[in-house]
């Protein structure tokens, strides 16, 4: 098979070709490694998708298992034994973990080969990948625009054909939003269905790993080998049943609900147009479409920007220069750290970027004496109301559909001066995160020549239903992402 033909295959097709003997795993790995290494070598002239790429001679032994050796790009924040895992932060620069994250190990056991680690917003805090200590990632559809975030490197790499598929994490939209902005598929699973062990934590009650892939079938195949309870993650749950590869061609009788709160105000006209065209396509496939209400959804972003920073401020307390990562050795005046407290505070000053500092401060404030009930306590009650909203809507409809992001990819630097404007990117994705329910983004068209994402969400553990609906829509929408494969 020629190198070009190899790149045309989806990951699932490549795994099938390897199983059938028409493609060698080594050939596939080498083709992708060469492309990933070229992007890494290009620095700022490339897309800057990667923070590490497997070296020459690292071609893995032909792997047994359903994934057949198909190479996998993994977001920087997953611990990978002996391979730099830095969560996009200066404070973890060069950190080599002593163990591998459970979900990565599961995928390797199923035959995935580690191709590269992908660039991301620092500690997954961001919606544009402009908060990485290792530089901005560029969108392969337009290099002057952001890929979204925080899994921006994973999304751009898959869209550009620099990796067949990738792992990301989603706390408030960090898989779905970059997938939407890069014209690929991204799925955030039900909270608890994928182990968080070995993921460098941002907000533990929200963080969830998921696939970023070229198509829906690939997302199903990767997710199939990710889910399962893990004794190393106290919050993980057994997935009831198995993830199946989707086959649906029609949506007859499927009830799709469009929440008024997430499909009107604040969304770009071009995005709404593509969204409505996708709904019409759904109707043509037999779906019944109705309006639904999520009355507390307008409060989701407020609750999220209490809960996520509060949990982050606690999780990031571990970065203090003692056990791993950066230690500030001297003050700006060249003095040695005078005492322990001085060492902590200067290490954290030097190691964290501005957005991470902002969220640590916000979270520390919200958890500080006298404010806990007014902020974190209330936010967790809002969260209960949001979950109840979804439960009552899922008594009327099977799935909820919204645009994934309120705009197409925006220009680098466009929103960096205003943190609140950046946070508003997540207003369609955060409610599902707070409710812990699964949601997938698929590309549904173009606006201004840039991809638009359609989000489909369902009740906890409805991944198979989601994947089938997404698959049927994908087949009939016929979105072509080939032009982004540079």
């Amino acid at each position: 098979m020629s190198a070009t033909d190899v790149l045309e295959l989806s990951a699932a097709q490549a795994a099938d070709a390897i199983a059938a003997g028409s493609l060698s795993a080594a050939e596939l790995f080498d083709a992708y490694r060469a492309r990933a290494a070229a992007d890494r070598a290009a620095g700022a002239a490339g897309l800057n998708c990667f923070t590490w790429v497997a070296g020459d001679g690292a071609t893995p032994e032909p792997a047994a298992g359903a994934l057949g050796g198909v190479p996998l790009a993994v977001k920087d924040l997953f611990c990978t034994k002996g391979v730099p895992s830095q969560s996009g932060s200066r404070i973890l620069e060069g950190y080599l973990p002593p163990y591998t994250a459970s979900v990565v190990r599961r995928l390797e056991d199923a035959g995935a080969s580690l191709l590269a680690k992908t660039n991301q917003d620092e500690f997954a805090m961001g919606s544009s990948n402009e908060n990485s200590a290792f530089g901005d990632v560029r969108n392969p559809w337009d290099r002057e625009r952001v890929p979204g975030g925080s899994s921006g490197g994973s999304a751009a790499a898959v869209a550009a054909g620099l990796a067949p598929w990738a792992l990301g994490t989603d706390t408030g939209g960090s898989i779905r939003q970059p997938a939407a902005l890069c014209g690929i598929v991204g799925l955030k699973p039900t909270y608890g269905s994928v182990s968080r062990y070995g993921m460098i934590a941002f907000a533990s009650s929200l963080d969830q790993a998921g696939p970023l892939t070229r198509d829906v079938r690939d997302a199903a195949l990767l997710l199939k080998h990710m889910v399962g309870q893990d004794p190393c993650d106290a919050t993980s749950l057994a997935f009831p049943g198995e993830i199946e590869l989707p086959t649906a061609e029609r949506l007859d009788g499927v009830r799709l609900g469009v929440p008024e709160e997430l499909s009107g105000g604040g969304i770009e006209p071009g995005v709404l147009e593509a969204f409505r065209a996708a709904l019409a396509q759904g109707e043509a496939l037999g779906a019944e479409i109705s309006e639904v209400r999520l009355p507390h959804a307008p409060h989701a972003l407020s609750a999220y920007y209490v809960i996520a920073p509060a949990e982050a401020s606690s999780n990031l307390a571990r970065f203090d220069g003692v056990r791993f990562g950066l230690r500030a050795a001297s003050s700006p005046e060249g003095e040695n750290a005078s005492d322990l407290l001085d060492m902590y505070t200067r290490t954290r000053h030097d190691g964290f970027g501005p957005e991470v500092k902002r969220r640590i401060m916000l979270g520390t404030y919200a958890l500080s004496s006298g404010y806990y009930d007014a902020y974190y306590g209330r936010a967790q009650r809002v969260r209960t109301k949001i979950s109840e909203d979804f439960r009552s809507v899922f008594e009327q409809v099977d799935l909820i559909v919204t645009p994934t992001a309120p705009s197409v990819a925006f220009e680098l630097g466009e929103k960096t001066a205003d943190p609140l404007a950046m946070y508003l990117n997540d207003f369609c994705t955060v409610p599902m995160s707070l409710a812990g329910i699964p949601a997938i983004s698929i590309p549904c068209g173009l606006s201004q020549g840039l991809p638009v994402g359609l989000q489909i969400a369902g009740p906890a553990f409805s991944e198979n239903r989601l994947l089938n609906a997404a698959y049927a829509l994908e087949q009939s929408l016929g979105f072509d992402g080939a032009q982004a494969r540079v």
Binding site: P98, C232, S302, D320, A337, D339, R381, A460
Partner: protein, 107 residues
Amino acid sequence: MAIHRMPITVIGRDEVLHVARLARLALAEDEIEPMARELSAVLDHVARIGELDLDDVAPTSHVVADAVPTHPALRPDEPRPCLPRELALAEAPAVADDGFLVPSPQA
């Protein structure tokens, strides 16, 4: 029904420095004023949750286990072996006597 309307939040310089101390975070002089402004803007937005009546609402703990009570339980909380000492120390910035070496608390 009690409505918890939160006052407009304005975080000043002193409060920023207080929270930074709690967070073990040194801030440079030129980071303080922008931090005060940005935190105030976000907290203002966040204060909208004060408008909701939440008196009889239970806070979420595990979002899925709470919502799907019939679902198989979380794993039992049993002790498991931890990382061996030499691995735990391998990435430490400074080590002495099989432990993490740090500056004296009151040097």
